[in-house]
Amino acid sequence: MAETLTRTGALDGWAARFAELPDSVALLAEPFHTMTSVRGETTLRPNTWVEEDGFDAVWLGPDEVLRTSPFRSAAELGGTDVSAQRTTIRLRGAHARDLLETGCAIDLHPRVFGAGSAAVTLLGQANVILLCLGENDYRILVRSSFAAYLAEWLLDAATEYRG
């Protein structure tokens, strides 16, 4: 019999190239976060995300919240399972914001887009959900089919900081 059904992350195989980056623009694939789309009115403020009980809730629109969790199941989170629809990349380091500013048009200054901010917008030519976790610490959610493009784009953007 063949192998058991194992999971493959959209950016499996990129770890080695990510590992070559300096700490100032560290990239880490976070492959298997559960995500669900929950519809209906939300009390979440626009353009924010919050930590709730066992999951993060991201405002996507006036009637759409994305719940994400690295350990809960989709059934526990509720809503439509979209876990494999997007994949997650963590970007942090002293030049994280500098790097994003080479391809993201929204104002990322900490006064405007600080910890707890979220935006559905464009990074390079890819549609992303951008979350700010703290100073120079971001999570980027990207459609799985665009993940390789975005990874290549991020690595290329980091060229300047390789020293």
Partner: protein
């Protein structure tokens, strides 16, 4: 050497070597190519484009109309201004005659872009701009300060005093203060070249050209995309020459440019200097050049006044009428109204034109100031402030005041507006780069042109690299003079971005090569690559087109061979396709069925959970926009499959109707395109493969009928099986979440091995579906094809009261029997494959004289393994009634006879569907 001791800010302790026109020279850090050449007395650096006249440097920065060169090293680049090329060791350049030469090797430099946001953007780091930036920074604004030169200070020469201190010390202190603010960004060597809506300014930063060797990893040029709450335009002014006959010779330049050469680079551009001016500013040039050792004669048409700056120069009332040249073509003397004067440098100054381009880019209106003889910002513009010389304020105190946000008392004007002196109009150059003269303008007005925009295009004045920075106002003024109308009634030509030439490479940035356009890949991409798939682009997707096997004589199969093999394998045994790119939308809510009834032409609300239905979507005009299958998941849930290309537009289409027309419907739409990977397992042995995958599922035709679906688990992983066929064969679409897609695919390949499972690509998929007459929306349709044209009246509900497109079907034209309809075509010669797109005409043995009535065109054309011959699908006028007829398809010089058939060519009875 014309370098003068004690002058200039170049670093004379270090020497740089460069080559120009094959001759080696030296210069210093801080030099430009132009200043270094002038330091060696090289005055002729280019030839003019039409008349091949020698040309030198006429202005020292980007406004120079003449000094274009070709750079060879470090990288070949044409048409650069010698005045803006910072000297680096090893620079190799040559003169050109108005046309450069593009590099024949790829440009390996990096170019990128960067966004910046600020409350205040200040363009220009001269005295006004520095003060504006300081004022904004002190009130807590985020500030971006850009300046196109390597150093701040603008036109300050170092001879001025600000607040009782040396002006350049003041500049250094102000910069230091600005740099200490964390939210102030200072960008030197950065040209703001375009100003757009909502405080958006594009600026080009030259990051590495002044560094030799260029550092690794850094982009050579960067386009800054700056979004500013407020834009302060502090871009200074361009000096304006006075037009005299033969004013294009090397050795003729603007007065302030010669002064800048002296103070910035320590270069004295002439020893015997004539200054011809109608404005006070040029007196500073006369005094400074005289102070540096030149013999200077100043001619001014105005009565001699006592308050202008004194110096060791001769001054008299007079006019320069023309110039003469020595054997090298450079100036040797001038003709004045009082006789001839020998000289090696003529400085011209007729006043100043405010550099108000960035104000004009955002439709700021300019007003003619008759005292200045110039156009200046004439109205307040929200979000934009123009200060200093760009605003027509030319005195230092006034510039500083405006920079601080104050409104200084205007100084009385003493200048005389003088556009040209008497002389031969054919020798009076207006645009030196274009070799355009006063005579050319006269020819334009003589031809009846009355608008400066028309004169510009007729004479080409202002169309060169400099975009008329020094010639534009002159051209307007001389046109006005020739027409006998006031200049203010003509205005200027429109300033448009870019302010200076910008390389396409910089605009492209990193969007080159593999980052040119996003490449979308499925979860199985690595498997396809490892299997040697040949890919095709489907929108942004890379899809496996076919999987060539090793050929007999080495190499690999060609596409025809591979596709025939894949097709035969599917219809004989079993094949598997990566169909994950199909768009998938989960439609959920109590009104989901009612909503889909409006979206699709057929009824969807009646579909029962566990069932699948094929559906067609039309636009309001009744033309097909997409098709696909719909799975009813439960009472309130449907899973809609769209075409690959339809995923995003159909979601938008559905959202539009839902949100704008039917907001009362309780329905939500969620894209799950990448959540689910979908693999059609197709062919007579597919039941064996799917049965082996899901042993607990009864896959018999009775228990698992066509157009139904069931969920199962494989190793505990949820897997969905749906009996859907896009080939007429027994088939299942196997779906799994994207994380498990590669493992499930490998499982299916392993389980299928005993049955000869063959992975196939999109080309084979296309052949198999075409053999069954299934259209591809966007290939067999083009937005003018209705479901009825496709022979799909069966998919159009007659029961539903309404759906999108229904009313259009009732239009008389939609019922016209001569509409183009989808049919099959069989070339009489079964080996001839018709090119897709071929036109179709009535049967003929000889091409009739044009116009030949066109009956339609070939939309799909393939070789069929099942038929053992070629076939095609086509849209043909009245095609359904023509079945059985013969028509002709001209292909190249041949007339290919074809027979019209129904569109279903393989298994028209549908016997293969259930295995």
């Amino acid at each position: 050497m014309t370098r003068v001791d004690g002058y200039g800010r170049v670093d004379r302790t270090r020497t740089l070597r460069f080559t120009f026109d094959g001759v080696s020279y030296t210069g210093h850090p801080g030099d430009t190519l132009a200043s270094a050449l002038l330091a060696h007395g090289v005055r002729t650096i280019a030839r003019s484009v039409k008349q091949d006249r020698p040309r030198g440097v006429t202005a020292v920065w980007s406004e120079d109309p003449t000094g274009l060169v070709q750079v060879e090293e470090p990288f070949p680049e044409p048409m650069l201004l010698a005045t803006t090329i910072e000297l680096v060791d090893g620079l190799v350049a040559s003169s050109i005659g108005g046309r450069g030469r593009l590099a024949e090797v790829p440009d390996t430099a990096r170019y990128d872009r960067r966004y910046a946001h600020c409350e205040t953007l200040v363009v220009g780091a001269g005295p006004a701009g520095l003060l504006a930036a300081r004022t904004a920074a002190r009130r807590g604004d985020r500030v971006v300060l850009v300046d196109d030169r390597p150093a701040a200070g603008g036109s300050l020469t170092g001879t001025e005093r600000i607040c009782g201190r040396d002006a350049l010390d003041f500049v250094a202190d102000t910069l230091a203060e600005l740099r200490a603010h964390p939210d102030v960004r200072i960008l030197l060597r950065t040209t703001a070249f375009g100003h757009y809506d909502d405080g958006f300014v594009l600026a080009l930063e030259r990051r590495t050209d002044h560094l030799a060797p260029a550092p690794q990893g850094l982009s050579r040029q960067r386009v800054w995309r700056i979004r500013a709450g407020h834009v302060v335009v502090a871009t200074g002014a361009h000096e304006r020459p006075i037009v005299v006959a033969d004013n294009d010779r090397p050795g003729i330049m603007l007065a302030a440019s010669a002064r800048d050469l002296l103070h910035r680079y320590g270069v004295l551009a002439g020893r015997r200097v004539v200054v011809f001016t109608s404005d006070d500013a040029a007196y500073d040039a006369a005094a400074d050049l005289a102070g540096a050792g030149a013999e200077v004669t100043l001619l001014d048409p105005r009565p001699v006044r006592g308050d202008s700056r004194s110096g060791d120069y001769r001054r008299s009332r007079g006019l320069v009428l023309g110039t003469g040249a020595g054997p090298d073509g450079a100036i040797s003397h001038v003709f004045t109204d009082q006789g001839e004067l020998p000289c090696d440098l003529l400085l011209l100054s007729g006043g100043w034109n405010p550099t108000s381009h960035l104000f004009s880019h955002v439709r700021g209106a300019l007003r003619y100031d008759a005292e200045l003889g110039a156009f200046r910002p004439g109205e307040a513009l929200a979000g934009v402030t123009v200060v200093g010389a760009a605003n027509g304020t030319f005195d230092l105190a006034g510039c500083l005041a405006e920079g601080r946000g104050e409104t200084p008392e205007p100084l009385p004007r003493t200048n005389l507006v003088l556009w040209r002196t008497d002389g031969d109009p054919a020798r009076q150059y207006v645009d030196l780069q274009r070799d355009s003269t006063v005579a050319d303008i006269a020819r334009a007005t003589g031809a009846g042109l009355r608008s400066v925009e028309h004169v510009k295009r007729y004479t080409t004045i202002g169309t060169a690299h400099d975009q008329g920075k020094t010639s534009g106002v002159l051209a307007s003024a001389i046109t006005a003079e020739l027409l006998g109308v006031p200049i203010e009634s003509l205005g200027t030509t429109t300033f448009r971005p870019p302010y200076t030439p910008i390389a396409f490479a910089a605009l492209a940035g990193r969007e080159r090569g593999q980052l040119f356009d996003p490449v979308r890949t499925t979860a199985l991409h690595a498997w396809h690559v490892a299997r040697g798939a040949v890919f095709e682009d489907v929108g942004q997707w890379k899809r496996a087109r076919y999987y060539p096997l090793p050929g007999e004589a080495g190499g690999t199969e060609d596409m025809d061979t591979a596709v025939l093999r894949e097709c035969a394998a599917v219809r004989r045994d079993v094949g598997i396709l990566d169909g994950s790119t199909l768009g998938k939308i989960e439609v959920r809510g109590p009104d989901a069925g009612a909503f889909l009834d409006m979206i699709y032409t057929n009824l969807m609300s009646s579909l029962r959970p566990g069932r699948v239905r094929y559906g067609v979507m039309c636009g309001l005009d009744g033309m097909v926009i997409d098709d696909g299958t719909v799975l009813r998941l439960d009472d309130e849930g449907f899973l809609v499959y769209t075409t690959t290309g339809g995923a995003a537009p159909i979601l938008d289409h559905m959202e539009e109707w839902l949100q704008t027309e039917w907001p009362h419907l309780r329905v939500t739409l969620t894209s799950v395109t990448e959540q689910w990977a979908t693999f059609p397992v197709v062919g007579p042995r597919s039941r064996d493969v799917v049965g082996a995958l899901a042993p607990h599922v009864d896959v018999s035709a009775a228990a698992f009928p066509f157009m139904t679906w069931q969920d199962t688990e494989v190793d505990g992983v949820p897997v969905r099986l749906a009996r859907i066929s896009f080939s007429g064969e027994l088939a299942w679409e196997v779906s799994v979440d994207g994380w498990h897609a590669p493992a499930l695919w490998r499982r299916l390949i392993a389980l299928g091995e005993p049955y000869g499972i063959t992975p196939y690509g999109t080309e084979t998929m296309h052949v198999l579906r075409a053999e069954k007459g299934y259209p591809i929306i966007g290939q067999d349709t083009d937005g003018t094809v209705s479901p009825q044209d496709l022979g799909m009246s069966w998919a159009v509900s007659t029961k539903k009261v309404d759906f999108i497109g229904k009313r259009s079907f009732a239009r008389a034209e939609n019922r016209n029997p001569l509409r183009k309809q989808l049919v099959g075509l069989l070339p009489l010669d079964p080996t001839v494959k018709l090119p897709e797109g071929s036109q179709i005409i009535e049967q003929t043995a000889e091409l009739p004289p044009p116009p030949v009535p066109m009956l339609g065109h070939v939309t799909s054309s393939y070789r069929s393994a099942a038929l053992g011959r070629t076939f095609a699908l086509a849209l043909v006028k009245g095609g359904h009634a023509r079945i059985g007829e013969r028509l002709t398809v001209p292909v190249g010089g041949d007339l290919v006879p074809v027979e019209v058939t129904g569109s279903v060519l393989v298994d028209p009875e549908g016997t293969r569907r259930d295995g």
